[in-house]
Structures are given as C-alpha cells and as structure tokens.
C-alpha cells in the first residue's frame, strides 16, 4: 500500500467549522435590501384546461408587488432531457395536482400566502389517468394529447403515454429459457419515495444594475440552472449568473431548474430581489419525487446453479413530465452477475401525477431490490446457499458487462468475502431472527469536468473547480491536489465560485465528483508540478530529471541541500520569464469503472405485529482508495440508512383517484431517526480503479441499493416468508405470514405485443 501524505487520512472537512458554528450560508439565509418573498399557487386538478385566472383582487392586497401566470413567460417548451414536454409554468392546461399556475411577490411570506387565496382560477376538468398500468392500455386517456409534436419525442408504440423505452439484448434469451433446467418468474414493486433533504429548496434572484440576472440557489447543478433559465426566459446565457450556496442536501432533487424561474421573472417585473423558500409541505407536493416502479424478472438456471438467461420488464411511472432519468434501473437487470442471454426492457409511462425527480440512482435501488430478492429466492428454491450461489455467478474481470464494456479489475469478490468473514456465514440465528445479504453494483460517473490550479507567491495553491461542494467533495478535491503536489491540505485554497467564475462543469451527482472531477484536479496538479520542476531546473541549473520533490521542496536528488522550497518557487514564479504558474485540465469521458458492494442485515421479526427491527448492518464496498476514510464512511453510512428507510418505513403515498400526494409531512413520511438504527459496520475494500485519481472509485450511490433486499432476505431467513413490495411494513409481513400477500401482476405478454417482440 502506498504511503500517502494526505489521502487515507481522517482530516476534518474544510467547511466543518463553518457548519458547526452556524456560519455556513444557505440560500434561505440571504437577506438583500428591498427583498420580496415569493409563494406559488398550485393546480388543484389532475388534468384540466385553464379557462381563466383572475388576479385583480390579489393584486390589490396591500403588500403585494407583482403576480405572474404562465402567460407571462415566453411560449417555450423545455425538458430535463431531450424530450421537451413542459412549460415552466402552466399556460392553458395543467397536468397534475401541484403544478404551479401563478406566483406572487409580496413584502412578506404571510401576505404572499394570503394573496394566493385571492387568485381565482377557473378550470375545466379533462380526463386523467393515475395508474401507469392503466395508462398503458389502448383506451386510456392520453396525458399529453400532442406528445408527437414535442421536440425530442421519438416513439411509434401507438400509445402516447409511453414516453421512453429503453432496451438491451444479448444472445438468444428465448432459446436459453427453453434450454434451462429451471425457470423462475417473480414481480416486485417499489414505492414512491421523497428525497428527504433537510433544507427545503430555496433561492434568491435579483436583476443587477447592468441588467444581468443573479440567482443564489440551493442547487447541485448551477450550470444546468443557467442553461434552462436562459431557455425558459428566452434570455442570453451570458446574461445569467448562478451562485450555488451551501447545499443542505439534494440527493438528486436539486440537479436541475426547479422553481428559480418564478422569482426570477418577478425580479424582472419588480426590479427587486425576490426570495422563494418551499415549505416542508411544498417539498412533498411540488418537488418531483420518486414514483412507484414495478419490476418483472424471469430467470433461467441450470441445475448446477449457473444462471443462463434473464428477462426484465420494468414499468416506470414518470408522472406528468419526463422529469428525471427514468429507466436507470433497466441496465442493472442482471445485477452483479455474468448472464450471457438477456432481454431488458423499461417503459417510462406518463400519468397525471407530479413528475419524477432524481434520487441517488433510485431506479437502480428499485431494480436491486428486485434482483437481489429474486436471486435469494432462486437460491433458496434450488437448495443452494445464497452466498455460494452469488459468488458462483459473480461477474469477473474480463467478462462483458451489460453496456458492452469489458469488466476491469474490481473488488466484487473481495466484498463478498469480507462480509462472509465478518458475519461468519453461513449463520443460523435463533427463532424470529435472520440474516440476509445483497450485492450492489454501479459505476463511477463521468461528464464534463474542469479544474484550474494556480500557484501563489507563498507556495500555496488556489484550486478553482465548478462543481458544487456536495458532502465533503471540496475537501476531497483539495486532498487530491495536495497529495499530487506534496502539500498539506491547508495549503490548498478552494475558491467559492459561481457560473461566471469557474468553467463549465457537470452537476454534483451521479457519483461523478471524486472519479471524474477528481481526475481533472489531479491532471491540473500534475501540470503545475511540471511547471514547478521546470522553474526549479532553470534556477538550479540542472535538467528536470535530476530533481526530486518531497515535503514542499524540489531539490537535486544527488545533492539534496541544493533545492528550493515551494515558498521560494512561488515567489520566483511571479516574475519569472513564463509568468505566474497556472495549469488547467478538462475532460468529459472517463472510462467505465465498476463499483461493487456487499451488504448484510441481521433482523428480528415480531410475528405478532410483523414489525422488523434491524439489529446489525454490515457493508463492504470497494472504494479503490479512500480519499478521506471518515468522509467515505459517512457516505456509506448515510446511504445505507436511506436504504433502510426505503426498506421499512418510507412510503410516499399518492391518491389513487387524483394522484395527489397524501403523505405531505415529516410525521406521515417516516425517515429513520437515530433511535431506529444500529451502528453501521463498514469495511473499506481497496482494489484500486484503473483510471480514478490515485485509484479512487465513486462511493456515494451504491450504499442505498442494498438494504431493501438484504432486509427482505433476512425476513425470509427469520420467518420463511418473502415480501415483494416495499416498504416491508408490519402489515405486509403479517399478510405474508398468513399466506395472504397481494400478488403483484404485470401482463408482460401485452407489453411484448405492444412493442412487437
């Protein structure tokens, strides 16, 4: 193992002291002179034509400064991806309960709220469809009747409620099912989920004296907001500056334009700063959550336990607009296993409900629940040990992954072994207690990544990157720069930046910051190192290859007393012939890098109530190298606890008739508290990645994938029943114990007919 100076050390985060003293500034902490408060009026119909909006009474309320409706925006459609199916504010038609139809700017929030009640909207109800399976039928009302006219739409399935279809095939899956000794079919269902960030979405907008728009935002994607705002306001990109504030959790919900356009337009109308803060209720009812997913799996296995065929059909409820990468689960329909014949399909279906948002690779979490429960179920039915069955089929270096990339060196087997050793598997627990495992697989993220490093006259360096600081990423990026240059962490200054100052960067999400952004930082630091060597070589009168670097000095290897400290080099560089030292790096397409994790849950099931308590949780994840072990473990622990919430208590319920969000408070949407949990045991496996900085892999998303299946498998181990629907509530466990589980059905034949398979 390499002896690192900065990496692999539990250094406190550079933002920690600001946060523990309440000094860190979040968007809602900003107060500007003359600032107004903005509140939004939401549609009360799941699908309706807007006949009229009368704002006269609201406008005459004292303290109200301006009111806007959808007609005040340019008639430009936008979308979160290629399909442009939305107006930023509803113009003539609303598509879900919660869709914004008007916005008020007033002297204070109470006045703005009162004004909303005085706005008179006349709606004419239109047919709506709430259930995605119903939406797939040929006589279901279309959510978007003109969907074929939308830019980016490309389907000919004959059902306009299907807005995306992802597919992936290999080999001959139908023949393989015929050849297989055993075939298993199961359907799993995941619930609606809210991202649950503690900081409600907030932003402040202001039009500067020179006419430019400034947006202080709670966001993971300032460049994405800039692009989309320019689009919907029909203003030049260069006229907008987005300043990301301290982020109080996002988990994917804050990757894109959310509500910023409303205070922005109100700032243009009033000439004053405008602040918008979601209430917690609005976080539940206005912000795109995750919607339920149904995953059908069919698997062909030989009697020796080799999996030879997999078919997966996913129904992905998208809501009213294609808000976030749906179908992200379909590429993970094989799990962590090498399966030569497969057919994977994912249907994204429109319904008249709030649009789906991103949440820590949630689609993969849904699929992992299905795949790892199914894998366990097959093993049990065939009489194999669940751990042995997994390792027999585990994908290895050199195998071809779903995407077609060759699997590079990775730590999957090491993680399986680590969990086996830690728990002492196979393990029989006493009555009512059980143990279950789950394997998670993901990939390190890529995307546009840029970095710039310059040397100060005292030998410290300044690091400029466009990425939003997400849970310690600034500290990790600084650590990569420090390690490359032989500096200590506090010798790297990380700039607070905005979209004017830093070059374009992809959003902070999708597990891309350490792997991709970190590589840009590493390359920029290497280039700075080269320039320092050149300067030292010039001043010391030797060739570059005669020099060595350590402890903040560059010196002649054969005569170490002859050298220059970084401080000296920094001062010399300012007036040197080639000028002050600055180096940049830019990249966009990092190679495929897998991330594997094995997790295990020990549970206690109360057969009288069906309640499940997690008594022990262990995870082993291949992190490559731990940039900052304390920070890495924090990501692992936080992710697992989000997964435990998904497994046991979180359930975003939507009305089956209207699609309205029913669980709209923290007292009905139940996220784990400290009392609900054991201490999480982490094992950091370190098989260095081929391309990541110092061998680092992505960390943050996989931990959340495992708990639902690990716990469902543990319940089976404990009391012999399998629950196939999340959350694994007491009611569902009891129903399963009584043999009364509600079976989830998916008419796969109808889907195959529709796509012509």
């Amino acid at each position: 193992m390499v002896d690192f100076k900065v990496l692999e050390k539990n250094l406190p985060r550079i933002d920690a002291r600001d946060k523990v003293t309440g000094k860190a500034v979040y968007a809602s902490d900003l107060y500007l002179p003359g600032m107004l408060m903005c509140k939004l009026l939401a549609s009360t119909y799941s699908h309706a034509r807007i006949i009229s909006i009368d704002t006269t009474q609201a406008e005459s309320l004292q303290g109200v400064r301006a009111i806007i409706t959808g007609q005040d925006f340019p008639e430009i459609r936008f979308g979160s991806g290629a399909l442009k199916d939305r107006y930023i504010m509803a113009r003539d038609e609303v598509f879900y309960i919660g869709e914004p139809v008007a916005a008020v700017a007033a002297d204070d929030e109470i006045t703005a709220q009162e004004a909303l009640d005085l706005i008179k909207v006349v709606y004419e109800a239109l047919p709506s469809v709430i259930d995605p399976i119903t939406a797939l039928t040929s006589d279901a009302p279309p959510v978007h009747s003109n969907v074929a006219d939308y830019e980016g739409y490309g389907f000919t399935l004959g059902n306009s409620n299907v807005c995306t279809l992802l597919d992936s095939d290999r080999g001959d899956v139908d023949q393989a099912f015929k050849d297989a000794d055993r075939v298993f079919e199961e359907t799993y269902r995941s619930q609606g989920i809210n991202q649950g960030f503690l900081e409600p979405m907030a932003c402040v907008t202001n039009v500067e004296a020179n006419g430019r728009l400034t947006v202080w935002a709670s966001t993971q994607g300032p460049y994405q907001i800039r692009t989309q705002l320019a689009g919907v306001l029909d203003k030049p990109l260069s006229s907008i500056k987005v300043i990301p504030m301290e982020l109080g959790g996002g988990f994917g919900a804050k990757l894109r334009l959310a509500f910023e356009a409303f205070p922005a337009l109100l700032s243009f109308k009033t000439g004053r700063p405008v602040k918008l803060i979601n209430s917690r209720e609005e976080v539940f009812t206005l912000n795109g959550p995750r919607l339920p997913v149904t995953n059908y799996l069919k698997t062909g296995v030989n009697s020796d336990g080799t999996i030879i065929a997999r078919e997966a059909y996913s129904i992905f409820d998208v809501g009213a607009y294609l808000g976030a990468g749906p179908n992200s689960g379909v590429g993970h329909g094989l799990g962590a296993y090498n399966i030569p014949n497969f057919r994977l399909r994912s249907f994204g279906v429109y319904t008249n409900k709030i649009y789906v948002g991103s949440y820590r690779a949630s689609g993969v979490a849904d699929m992992t629940f299905a795949v790892e429960s199914h894998t366990d179920s097959i093993a049990r039915q065939m009489g194999f040990d669940p751990w042995e069955f997994r390792i027999k089929n585990a994908i290895k270096e050199g195998d071809v992954s779903v995407s077609g990339a060759r699997m590079p060196k990775n730590g999957l087997v090491e993680t399986l072994q680590a969990v086996k050793d830690r728990l002492g598997l196979p393990k029989r627990l006493e009555e009512g207690r059980g143990v279950g495992i789950a394997v998670c697989e993901w990939r390190s993220g890529s995307g546009p990544s840029t970095a710039s490093i310059s040397v100060n006259e005292d030998g410290t360096v300044s690091l400029l990157t466009g990425s939003v600081d997400i849970s310690g990423s600034d500290t990790s990026l600084a650590a990569i720069a420090a390690e490359t240059l032989g500096l200590s962490l506090d010798q790297v200054i990380v700039a607070k930046r905005d979209t004017d100052l830093a070059p374009f960067t992809g959003p902070s999400g999708g597990s891309r910051i350490v792997y991709s952004q970190g590589t840009a930082v590493h390359r920029a630091a290497e280039a700075v190192k080269e320039r320092l060597y050149e300067l030292a070589a010039d001043r010391l009168g030797v060739q570059k290859d005669a020099l060595s670097m350590s402890d903040g000095r560059i010196y002649i290897e054969d005569d170490p007393n002859q050298g220059l400290s970084f401080t000296q080099l920094g001062t010399l560089s300012i007036n040197s012939r080639s000028g002050p030292i600055i180096a940049t790096a830019s990249l966009s397409n990092m190679p495929y890098d897998p991330v594997f994790s094995t997790q295990a849950a020990e549970v206690m099931v109360d057969k009288a109530t069906g309640q499940v308590k997690v008594t022990r949780y262990v995870q082993a994840q291949d992190v490559g190298v731990a940039i900052n072990p304390m920070s890495v473990e924090g990501q692992l622990e936080g992710g697992v606890v989000q997964g435990i919430g998904r497994a046991l208590t979180e359930d975003m319920q939507l009305d089956s008739e209207t699609g309205a969000v029913k669980t709209s408070s923290l007292s009905t949407y139940l996220m784990p508290l400290a009392v609900d949990l054991p201490a999480i045991e982490n094992i950091l496996v370190k098989v260095p990645s081929v391309d990541g900085p110092f061998g680092a892999r992505a960390v943050a998303e996989p931990p959340g994938f495992g708990p639902p299946a690990a716990i469902a498998n543990a319940i089976f181990d404990a009391v012999g029943v399998r629950v196939r629907e999340l959350p694994l509530s007491g009611e569902r466990v009891l129903a399963a114990l009584a043999g009364e589980s509600i079976e989830i059905r998916l008419d796969v034949d109808a889907l195959k007919k529709a796509e012509g398979t």
């Binding site: 946060k19 003293t21 209430s279 473990e633 924090g634 508290l673």
Partner: protein, 158 residues
C-alpha cells in the same frame, strides 16, 4: 400589528417589534438575523430549529415569539464560535459527524442539552437523546461517535 418584544439572545438584550403570530424561529432569523438556526419543517417534526429557551431545548418553530418575552435564548451562535468553540461542536468536526450541515446546529443544541442531563451516556442513551433530530446525510453513526467523544472530553475537563 407588530408589538414590542424583549429577548435576551446569546447574552445580548434585544428589543424588537414582532407580529403576534411570529414564531421564535422566524424572529431569530428574519428580525434578529441570526441565521444559524434552521427551518427544516416549521411543524416541530425535524429538530433543526432547536435552541435553548431559559436553559431548556425547544423546537423554536413551535414557540410563539411573544410567549418568550423576557426569556433567555441561546442559539448555535451563542454556544461557541470560531475563536471559542464548544467541545460538542469540536467533536462533530473531529469525528466527521456532519455532511451537508443543515441539521447540525439543531442537532448540536440537542446533543449539548442531552449531555447536561446525562453526562456519561451509553450509545443507546445517546441515540435516544438525539432521537428528535432528523438527519438525512449521515446515518447517525458518526454523530453518535461525536457525542460520545464530546461526553468523554467534557468529563475529562471536570
């Protein structure tokens, strides 16, 4: 109609005009501009707004500002600052007990109040003691480690 309110906040007397319906949280943030205390839900469910009111931890979103007339209020800013950091704050830094930081001021206040009542707790007691504070980022493991370490630190200094 705003009415006069007198509060003693972090040792300083404040005399301000406040609406009768204003919560202590909104008054601290909007009127006194102490923004360290956060609003996570405004319904008493998350604990992010925890401050000390006459020495006891309260969810300030559920306290009417005027009901705290003449009271002593301590916020995160009054607990400790960069020059004079409180041992609980320092423990959170040292043990990585924070990520996004939004729940942290309220969590630190709750933990501090808990340790005053129970200076030598078990892990289970700590989990109960911070059981009213919601955190979405950390999974609580390092938060609990930090509180236990702070307890040790405070006890050693006695």
């Amino acid at each position: 109609m705003k009415k006069p309110l007198k509060l003693n906040v972090n040792g300083e007397e404040k005399q301000i005009l406040v609406e009768p319906y204003s919560s202590l949280l909104d008054t601290l943030r909007d009127d006194i501009r102490l923004t360290g205390t956060k609003k996570g839900c405004d319904e008493g469910d998350c604990g992010a707004c925890t401050v000390f009111l006459n020495g006891k931890p309260v969810t300030s979103c559920m306290v009417l500002a005027h009901s705290a007339h003449d009271a002593d209020v301590i916020t995160i800013e009054g607990l400790g600052n960069l020059d004079d950091i409180h041992p609980v704050q320092q423990a959170f830094v040292d043990y990585g007990g924070l990520q996004c930081g939004f729940c942290i001021p309220g969590l630190i206040m709750s933990a501090t109040a808990f340790l005053k009542e129970n200076p030598d707790p078990t892990e289970e007691e700590v989990r109960f003691g911070i059981g009213g504070n919601l955190c979405r980022c950390t999974g609580y493991s390092k938060v609990v480690e930090a509180v236990l370490a702070a307890a040790q630190n405070i006890n050693n200094k006695r």
